[in-house]
């Protein structure tokens, strides 16, 4: 059996997290191929449902990368995202799914290297957890 490669979806904000991406890029860091990224104007835009959908579609993990609390240009975006991630953790727990499969991170240009590092960390963490669900035969 080939080694399990987790399917991960990453939401990241167009502000701090994007400038973090610039730093990671400058450090020649590279993204793992199993992490699928989608950018949003602010992590406050991300809904509970948006975070559940990937699991519905077979994701093994999800994370949100936003700004630092003191530097969100929309004031409370990352705080909202954190609360919604927390809600999804509670839902996952009730569904018998490890709540550690979803996380939220605060980035900034200063923590730019983290943009790529968190992708690898999540990959490794979820790889150890194994697949989130059985494959479905419709």
């Amino acid at each position: 059996m080939s080694e399990f490669v987790p399917k991960i979806m990453a939401f990241y904000c167009s502000n701090c997290a994007t400038s973090a991406a610039k730093v990671s890029h400058g450090m020649s860091k590279t993204m793992p191929s199993n992490v699928h990224m989608i950018h949003v104007p602010c992590t406050g835009r991300i809904e509970t449902l948006h975070l559940l959908k990937p699991f519905e579609e077979g994701a093994d993990g999800v994370y949100v990368a936003g700004c630092q609390h003191d530097s969100c240009q929309y004031i409370g975006g990352i705080a909202k995202a954190e609360k919604r991630v927390l809600q999804v953790k509670k839902i996952l727990e009730q569904l018998g799914i490890d709540p550690g499969r979803i996380e939220v991170f605060s980035l900034s240009a200063a923590l730019g290297y983290r943009f790529v590092d968190i992708a690898w960390e999540m990959t490794e963490k979820i790889r150890r957890m194994g697949p989130a669900s059985m494959s479905v035969n419709p």
Binding site: T48, S133, M134, V136, N137, P138
Partner: protein, 222 residues
């Protein structure tokens, strides 16, 4: 509005266990306003049920729909064509919704998706507080516009009990002692004497104690 809270998903999963086709039915009334039973929450619950199915290796077909209100038969009618095609309906309206659905669609399995809590309002975004017990005979004007029936832990009508301390109720420091508030307001308004007035005992026949209630307004009835 009627304030409700979502049932634990595990409880709903037990209800729909083994079913292949489930309809989550939201309501645009009170439960949307209190962020528990509107289109958004319907989406979240539906997704949760699908994920749970997927985990068991079952592809559960979960439909989502939100009615204008579930407390009026005309709106219940809206789903007449789709309800029969589902194994069950989870209504996330207040307790009225699933009952109206059960009555209209006697063949359908109808489950409640929320716990209906109380009549109240939002004191801040995400925080609701009880204001009315639906006793059927409103007396709040005697109490500075505050209802001791709904808001006193013991529904006391004649003043605070010994459990009132620093303005809080002994059951929890998060609960204000409504009698403390009533008395203070009366003092502020210089109307403390009003509270000393004798009033006849409250009739509870108009409340739940008088049995299930029904109201008829002749001028409206056809």
């Amino acid at each position: 509005m009627i304030v409700a809270e979502a049932k634990p998903i595990s409880e709903i999963l037990t209800m729909v266990k083994g079913l292949k086709k489930v309809l989550v039915l939201g309501c645009k009334g009170c439960v949307t306003v209190c962020n528990v039973g509107g289109a958004k929450e319907a989406g979240i619950l539906a997704s949760s049920i699908r994920i749970a199915g997927r985990k068991e290796g079952i592809m559960v077909d979960v439909g989502e729909h939100t009615l204008e209100r579930q407390c009026d038969p005309e709106y219940i009618e809206e789903v007449k064509d789709i309800v029969p095609s589902y194994d069950a309906v989870v209504s996330i309206a207040c307790g009225v919704g699933p009952q109206f659905l059960s009555e209209r669609y006697p063949g359908a399995k109808v489950f409640p998706g929320v716990n209906t809590k109380f009549m109240g309002g939002a004191v801040a975004h995400g925080i609701w507080s009880e204001r009315c017990a639906g006793c059927g005979t409103c007396v709040i004007h005697y109490f500075g516009g505050m209802c001791p029936i709904a808001r006193c832990s013991k529904s006391l009508m004649n003043g605070p009990c010994g459990g009132s301390s620093h303005g809080k109720c002994e059951i929890s420091k998060d609960v204000d002692c409504i009698w403390d508030m009533i008395v203070r307001k009366a003092m502020d308004q210089g109307r403390l004497n009003d509270l000393l007035e004798f009033r006849p005992p409250k009739s509870w026949t108009t409340a739940r104690d008088g049995g299930p209630r029904r109201m008829i307004r002749e001028e409206l009835v056809k």
